[in-house]
C-alpha cells in the first residue's frame, strides 16, 4: 500500500517542478546544510547531556534539550547513547546466552561456567571500573541498567553481576591503595569473582554485632570466626571479609580484609539449599587462624563499618534494579499469555477483573522503576540519595513479590508448574525483601532520615 502511494506522489511532483522551483530548493538545501553543520556541532559537544530516547517529532535533538541553567528536563527513562547501547547489548546477551540455561541452573543449583565467562568477556563485571584496571569505565547508571536487563532473564546471574559491580569493585576502587587496586581490580575485571562477607549466624540485620576476630600479630592479622549467607562464595577468588580488630571498641573495630581463596585456614562450607536464587551459591565460611598481611587491609583499620554502610547504600539501588528487572521479566512473560488464553469464549485479558489487576501491577512496577532510576541518577550526580535508595529497594522488592505472585494467579494452573518460568520468578523474588537490608531495616532508615528532616 505505501509503495503505491509513494509512486503516485512522485509522479505528481515531477510534472509540477519548474526551473525556478528547483533553484529555490537548491538554495534552501544549501542553507539547511549550514544548519546541519551547526546542529551536529552542538550535539557532538553536548554528548554528556541526556538526549531523548524517542523522537516523537521530526525536529532536531537540539530542540529537545530544554534546559535551564544546565539542568535538562528529561523523563527519568531517558538514557545517554552509551547507556542505551549497553542496555541493548546486555538484553541480547541475556536472551541469547543466559536464557537457555536458566531452568537447568535452577534445577541443579549451579551456575553455568559459560555464563560466568560470558559476563567477563562482555565487560559486565567491571562496568563502572576505570579502564586502566581493565574495566569498562561506564557510569553507575549503566550498571543499574545491566543488572535490570539480566534480572529480566535470571535473577541469579543478575545478583552475581550486581555484587561484583556495586559492592566489590566499588569498595576496592574507592578505598583501596594503588597497589591493591592494581592487584585486585585487574583480576576482578578479567576473570575473578569477588565475595562480600559481612553476615554471620548471629549477625544478620544486626551486622555490627559480628564476632569474627582479627588479632594483630606483628605484620599479620590472624582471623578467626565464621561467616554465613555469603553469596558467590563457591565461585569467588577474592573475599572482602569484615572482621573486628578490636572487640572492645564495638563496631568501631570492624575492619575490611582482602583474603584470597587459597589462603591457609580459610574454608568454604556447604552451599545452602535455597528456595530461590538457586544458581547463585550461598555458603558458610570458616576462618581458622587465617593469616592476612597488614597490607591487605582495605582502607583504614576500624573503618569497616563505615565502608559497609556506604557501599550498602549504593548496593541497595542495585538490588532495587534486580527486583525491578525480575518483576518486569515476569510481567512481560505473562501478559502475552493472558491475551492468548481463551475462557468463556473470550481472551481472559478482556475481562475487567483481570485488566484492573494488571493495571495495578503495571502502575506499581512503573513507580518502582522511577524510584530506582531516580535514586541511581541522584547517586550519580553526587546528591544525597540514602533515603531514596532505601525507598527504592524496599518498594521494588515488595512490588516484585506482589507482581510475581499475581502473575502466577493470572497464568492459572500452568503458572503453578515448573514448565513455565513464572514460579521461578516468584521464588526468586522473595529474597528481595530479606537481603541487603530487610524491609524492616529499610523502613527504619527511611523513618530516621525523615525524622531528621522535620
Amino acid at each position: 500500500m505505501p509503495r503505491l502511494l509513494a509512486r503516485s506522489r512522485r509522479q505528481k511532483s515531477t510534472g509540477r517542478e519548474t526551473e525556478m522551483e528547483l533553484a529555490a530548493a537548491q538554495l534552501l538545501r544549501f542553507g539547511r546544510g549550514a544548519l546541519q553543520l551547526r546542529r551536529n556541532f552542538l550535539t557532538c559537544l553536548s554528548s554528556w547531556k541526556t538526549p531523548p530516547r524517542f523522537l516523537k517529532s521530526s525536529q532536531s535533538e537540539a530542540l529537545y534539550n530544554v534546559s535551564d541553567n544546565g539542568v535538562t528536563f528529561a523523563p527519568l527513562q531517558t538514557f545517554t547513547e552509551e547507556e542505551m547501547m549497553i542496555k541493548n547489548m546486555v538484553k541480547k546477551f541475556a536472551e541469547k546466552q543466559v536464557a537457555p540455561f536458566v531452568a537447568a541452573m535452577d534445577e541443579n543449583s549451579q551456575m553455568d561456567k559459560s555464563i560466568i565467562e560470558g559476563l567477563f568477556q562482555q565487560g559486565l563485571m567491571g562496568i563502572a571500573t576505570e579502564t586502566k584496571y581493565g574495566g569498562t569505565g561506564a557510569s553507575f547508571f549503566s550498571s543499574i541498567l545491566a543488572i535490570e536487563e539480566l534480572a529480566k532473564v535470571d535473577a541469579s546471574v543478575s545478583i552475581m553481576c550486581d555484587i561484583q559491580n556495586t559492592l566489590i569493585n566499588k569498595l576496592i576502587g574507592r578505598f583501596g591503595t594503588e597497589e591493591q587496586k592494581a592487584t585486585y581490580l585487574t583480576k576482578l575485571t578479567k576473570d575473578t569473582i569477588g565475595s562480600f562477607c559481612l553476615s554471620e549466624a548471629q549477625a544478620g540485620s544486626d551486622a555490627f554485632a559480628l564476632k569474627t576476630k582479627a588479632e594483630k600479630k606483628g605484620d599479620y592479622y590472624i582471623i578467626n570466626g565464621s561467616k554465613m549467607w555469603i553469596s558467590n562464595a563457591e565461585y569467588a577468588g577474592v573475599f572482602l571479609v569484615m572482621a573486628n580488630a578490636d572487640l572492645n571498641m564495638g563496631y568501631r573495630g570492624i575492619t575490611c580484609f582482602l583474603i584470597d581463596r587459597d589462603t591457609e585456614g580459610f574454608q568454604i562450607g556447604k552451599k545452602e539449599n535455597k528456595l530461590g536464587l538457586r544458581a547463585s551459591s550461598t555458603n558458610t565460611l570458616m576462618f581458622d587462624n587465617v593469616k592476612v598481611p597488614e597490607t591487605n587491609i582495605l582502607g583504614r583499620l576500624g573503618s569497616g563499618y563505615k565502608y559497609a554502610i556506604e557501599m550498602l547504600n549504593e548496593g541497595r539501588i542495585g538490588i532495587a534494579a534486580q527486583m525491578l528487572g525480575l518483576a518486569q521479566g515476569c510481567f512481560d512473560y505473562t501478559i502475552p499469555y493472558l491475551k492468548e488464553r481463551i475462557q468463556f469464549g473470550e481472551r481472559i485479558f478482556s475481562f475487567q477483573g483481570i485488566q484492573h489487576q494488571v493495571a495495578q501491577a503495571a502502575t506499581q512496577l512503573e513507580a518502582a522503576r522511577l524510584l530506582t532510576y531516580n535514586a541511581a541518577r541522584l547517586s550519580q550526580t553526587g546528591k544525597s540519595f540514602i533515603k531514596e535508595a532505601s525507598m527504592a529497594k524496599y518498594f521494588a522488592s515488595e512490588v516484585a513479590g506482589l507482581t510475581t505472585s499475581k502473575c502466577i494467579e493470572w497464568m492459572g494452573g500452568v503458572g503453578y508448574t515448573k514448565d513455565f518460568p513464572v514460579e521461578k520468578y516468584f521464588r526468586d523474588a522473595k529474597i528481595g525483601v530479606i537481603y541487603e537490608g530487610s524491609s524492616n531495616i529499610q523502613l527504619n532508615t527511611i523513618a530516621k532520615l525523615l525524622g531528621q528532616e522535620y
Binding site: 509503495r3 553543520l37 523522537l55 521530526s58 547513547e81 547501547m85 549497553i86 547489548m89 565487560g123 579502564t131
Partner: protein, 255 residues
C-alpha cells in the same frame, strides 16, 4: 586482499520483537516512538565483513545507512560491532517513507564507486518491507557479479566463492571481485557490541573534532523511472582516533 574495502549497507527497521500496529488512517504502520534496531540480515552482513577484516582479508569496513537522523543509532551499532567508518546518507523524515530499494541501490552504487569498495555486503532483505531487491539492483547498476542468499562466503585471491541457499538446495558459485553479496540467515551468528567497543566508540566521538570537506560530485544513476529529487547530506561518523568531518553536498536523483 589487504587492499580490499568492504561496503556494508545497514537499514534501520522496526525491531523484530515489537508488535506492529497499523496507523488509524491505514497509510502505513506506526513508527513513532516504536523501538527500532538494525535489520537482522544487515547485522549478519556487518558480522561477516568484520570477520573478514579480522582475517586480514579486508582492509576497511565501511557501514552505510540511508534514512532520517535516527539512522545514526544503527550506524553506531555497526561501528561498535567493529566497522571502521560509518556513512549516513541523510534523507529528511518527510521523504524517508518514499525511500525504496531503487534509491538506496543508486546511493550504494555511487558510494561503492566513490569509496572504491571491492565488496558490497548487504542483508538479503529488510524485515519491514521484505523487498529482496537492493542487493540485486546494486549489482546491476555497478555491473558487478552478485552472490545473493549467501550462507557461506570465502575470499580467495581476487575471487569470492559463495554458497547460496536456493530453492533446490545449495548452489556454489565463484565470483570475480569486485562483487555484491547479500547475506542469508545461516551465514554467521552476529556478535554483540562488547562493552569496551561501545566505550571506545563513545570516547572517540567525544574527542572528535570537525573539519569540513568540499562537496563532492553529484550522484547520477541510470534513471529507471521518474522520481522526485531527494536532497542528500553525506556525513562521516568517526571511530578510533580518526577525526570526524562533515561533508554537506546536495545530490539530486534525476527526475
Amino acid at each position: 586482499m589487504a587492499e580490499l574495502r568492504a561496503l556494508v549497507g545497514v537499514k534501520r527497521v522496526i525491531d523484530y520483537a515489537v508488535k506492529i500496529r497499523v496507523k488509524p488512517d491505514k497509510t502505513g504502520v506506526v513508527t513513532d516512538g516504536v523501538k527500532h534496531s538494525m535489520n537482522p540480515f544487515c547485522e549478519i552482513a556487518v558480522e561477516e565483513a568484520v570477520r573478514l577484516k579480522e582475517k586480514k582479508l579486508v582492509k576497511e569496513v565501511i557501514a552505510v545507512s540511508c534514512g532520517p537522523k535516527q539512522c545514526q543509532e544503527t550506524l553506531r551499532t555497526a561501528l561498535a560491532m567493529g566497522a571502521d567508518r560509518g556513512i549516513h546518507v541523510e534523507v529528511p523524515e518527510s521523504e524517508a517513507e518514499r525511500l525504496g530499494p531503487l534509491q538506496v541501490s543508486r546511493v550504494l552504487t555511487a558510494l561503492a564507486q566513490k569509496e572504491k569498495a571491492g565488496l558490497v555486503l548487504l542483508g538479503k532483505q529488510a524485515i519491514d518491507d521484505d523487498c529482496n531487491q537492493t542487493g540485486q539492483m546494486t549489482a546491476a547498476m555497478l555491473d558487478w557479479p552478485q552472490g545473493t542468499f549467501a550462507s557461506k562466503l570465502t575470499l580467495e585471491g581476487d575471487k569470492v566463492t559463495v554458497e547460496r541457499e536456493i530453492d533446490g538446495g545449495l548452489e556454489t558459485i565463484r565470483l570475480k571481485l569486485p562483487a555484491v553479496v547479500t547475506a542469508d540467515l545461516r551465514l554467521n551468528e552476529p556478535r554483540y557490541a562488547t562493552l569496551p567497543n561501545i566505550m571506545d566508540y563513545e570516547a572517540a566521538r567525544a574527542l572528535g573534532g570537525h573539519e569540513s570537506q568540499p562537496p563532492s560530485s553529484p550522484v547520477c544513476g541510470p534513471p529507471a523511472f521518474a522520481c522526485s529529487s531527494l536532497p542528500l547530506y553525506l556525513q562521516l561518523v568517526p571511530i578510533g582516533t580518526r577525526t570526524c568531518f562533515l561533508s554537506s553536498s546536495n545530490h539530486d536523483f534525476p527526475s
